[in-house]
C-alpha cells in the first residue's frame, strides 16, 4: 500500500510523540511518510516530505490553510490527492485539518459537509459512533441524514455491525422532543432509505448497547465528547486516589488491577487513535491534540484499516444508491 502521510508537527507533543508513533507503525509493517521541515531530527529511515510551515493550534482554520500553502497539513492532504500517500493523519489544529482535507482532497459527491466520527467506548461491546463530533457547529437537517448514512457505513466497516442502529441525539426519546433541528431531523431520518433509524436517543445511551450510531450537530457532539472525556478522567482519578488512601486499600487495588486495567484501556482515547473525517474523498484521521506515541500508532493503524476496507468507496456507493 501507499504510505500514510503523518503530520510530524501537529499536536501538543509534536514532533517527539508523533515521530515515536510513526516509528512504531513502521516497525508494525505500515509504510509511513512523514511531512515536516527539512532536517527534522529523529526521522531516521522514514521518508520525509518537506513542508516549511506549521499551522498552529490557535490559528484560523480556513485562513491559515489558504495562507500557509507549504504547511505540513496542506502538504499531507496534497500527498493523498496526488497519489503519494494512501491516507493522512494529524494531531494538529482540527479545523485546519478539515479545511486542508476539504480544499485539497475534496468531498465525496452527495456530501454537503464532512463530519468527524468518533468511537465512544461501550463496556464489553463495540463502540458507538458519534458524529458529528466537532466539524460543523451548525448543520442543516439534510446534513444529519448524510451523517447517518456515513456513520452507518463506518460502523459496518470498522466495527462489523451488519445493520447499525442509528439514533438521533436529543433530550427525550419521544419524536416531539428537542428543538426544531431535532424535530425535523427525526422526520427526515424516519424517511431516509438505507439506514436503520431507531428514533431519538439520550446522552446516557451513548455508552450502552442501545445504539450503534449517534447523530448530532458538531457543536453538541463536541460538548458531549469533551464531557464524557472529562467525566471519565475525573472518575478514574478519584478511583486511584481512593486506592492510594491507605495501605489496605492499596492491597485491595493491587488484587483488582488485572480486572481494572483492561477497562481503563477501553476508556482511554489513545486506544482508538483518533477520529475519522467522513465525507472527504480520501482517508483523513484527526488525532487528539495531546496524542501520545501510542495514540499515533493506533491512529495510523486505523488509517491503514480504512484504506484497506475502502471506506471512501463504500460511502460513495451508499450515497449514490440513495440518490438513485
Amino acid at each position: 500500500m501507499l504510505p500514510v502521510a503523518v503530520d510530524a508537527m501537529g499536536g501538543d507533543n509534536a514532533p517527539a510523540a508523533i515521530l515515536a508513533g510513526a516509528h512504531d507503525a513502521v516497525a508494525a509493517g505500515i509504510p509511513v511518510v512523514l511531512v515536516g521541515p527539512e532536517g527534522l531530527d529523529g526521522v531516521g529511515d522514514i521518508p520525509l516530505l518537506h513542508a516549511s510551515e506549521v499551522i498552529e493550534m490557535d490559528e484560523d482554520p480556513a485562513g491559515s490553510v489558504r495562507r500557509k500553502k507549504d504547511s505540513t497539513l496542506v502538504r499531507c492532504a496534497e500527498a493523498v490527492r496526488d497519489g503519494k500517500a494512501s491516507a493522512m493523519i494529524s494531531a494538529g489544529n482540527t479545523g485546519a485539518t478539515m479545511a486542508s482535507a476539504l480544499l485539497r482532497m475534496g468531498r465525496i459527491k452527495g456530501v454537503a459537509r464532512p463530519a468527524i466520527a468518533t468511537a465512544v467506548p461501550v463496556p464489553g461491546s463495540t463502540p458507538t459512533v458519534l458524529l458529528d463530533s466537532g466539524a460543523n457547529a451548525e448543520v442543516s437537517v439534510e446534513w444529519l441524514a448524510q451523517f447517518a448514512i456515513m456513520g452507518s457505513v463506518y460502523s459496518r466497516q470498522r466495527f462489523g455491525i451488519e445493520n447499525p442502529r442509528v439514533g438521533l441525539l436529543s433530550i427525550g426519546e419521544e419524536p416531539g422532543k428537542g428543538d426544531t433541528l431535532r424535530k425535523e431531523g427525526f422526520e427526515l431520518l424516519s424517511r431516509t432509505k438505507g439506514i436503520n433509524f431507531i428514533g431519538n436517543i439520550e446522552g446516557r445511551d451513548l455508552m450502552t448497547t442501545e445504539v450503534d450510531v449517534a447523530v448530532t450537530d458538531g457543536f453538541t457532539g463536541n460538548v458531549v465528547l469533551k464531557t464524557l472525556e472529562g467525566s471519565l478522567k475525573t472518575v478514574i482519578k478519584s478511583l486511584f486516589a481512593a486506592f492510594a488512601s491507605t495501605p489496605e486499600m492499596q492491597a485491595h487495588a493491587d488484587a483488582l488491577m488485572p480486572a481494572l486495567l483492561p477497562m481503563y484501556e477501553q476508556f482511554d482515547p489513545d486506544t482508538y487513535g483518533g477520529a475519522i473525517l467522513l465525507g472527504i474523498d480520501g482517508v483523513c484521521i484527526i488525532s487528539h491534540g495531546s496524542s501520545s506515541p501510542r495514540a499515533m500508532l493506533n491512529g495510523i493503524k486505523v488509517a491503514k484499516e480504512m484504506v484497506d476496507c475502502d471506506m471512501v468507496g463504500s460511502i460513495r456507493t451508499a450515497l449514490a444508491s440513495l440518490a438513485d
Partner: protein
C-alpha cells in the same frame, strides 16, 4: 499567454459554484447572493475562492490570488466576476 474575458470568468465562477453546491450551473444567476439565494456557507465560499485562484491561474498562466479582506466584499456572483475581471485588468 491565454486571456480570460468576462464570459470566461462567469463560466468559471458558475461551474465551480455548481460543483461545490451540487446544483445546476444554468440555475445560477449573476444577481444571486451567495448566502441568501444560493445557500453557500463560509466554508463553501472558501472552497469557491480556492477553486477560482487555481482555475484563473491555469487559464491565464499567471498567479492569481484573492485576499481574505477582499472576500468579505464579494456578496453576489456578479461581485465575484467583477472582482476577478478587475484584478486581471
Amino acid at each position: 499567454m491565454a486571456s480570460l474575458d468576462r464570459a470566461g470568468v462567469l463560466a468559471i465562477v458558475r461551474n465551480n459554484l455548481a460543483e461545490i453546491l451540487e446544483m445546476d450551473a444554468a440555475a445560477i444567476g449573476e444577481g444571486q447572493s451567495f448566502v441568501d439565494d444560493l445557500g453557500a456557507d463560509s466554508l463553501a465560499l472558501i472552497e469557491l475562492v480556492d477553486a477560482l485562484e487555481t482555475d484563473v491561474a491555469e487559464q491565464t498562466g499567471k498567479q492569481f490570488r484573492i485576499e481574505d479582506e477582499d472576500l468579505a466584499d464579494l456578496k453576489t456572483v456578479r461581485d465575484a466576476v467583477d472582482f476577478v475581471v478587475g484584478q486581471l485588468g
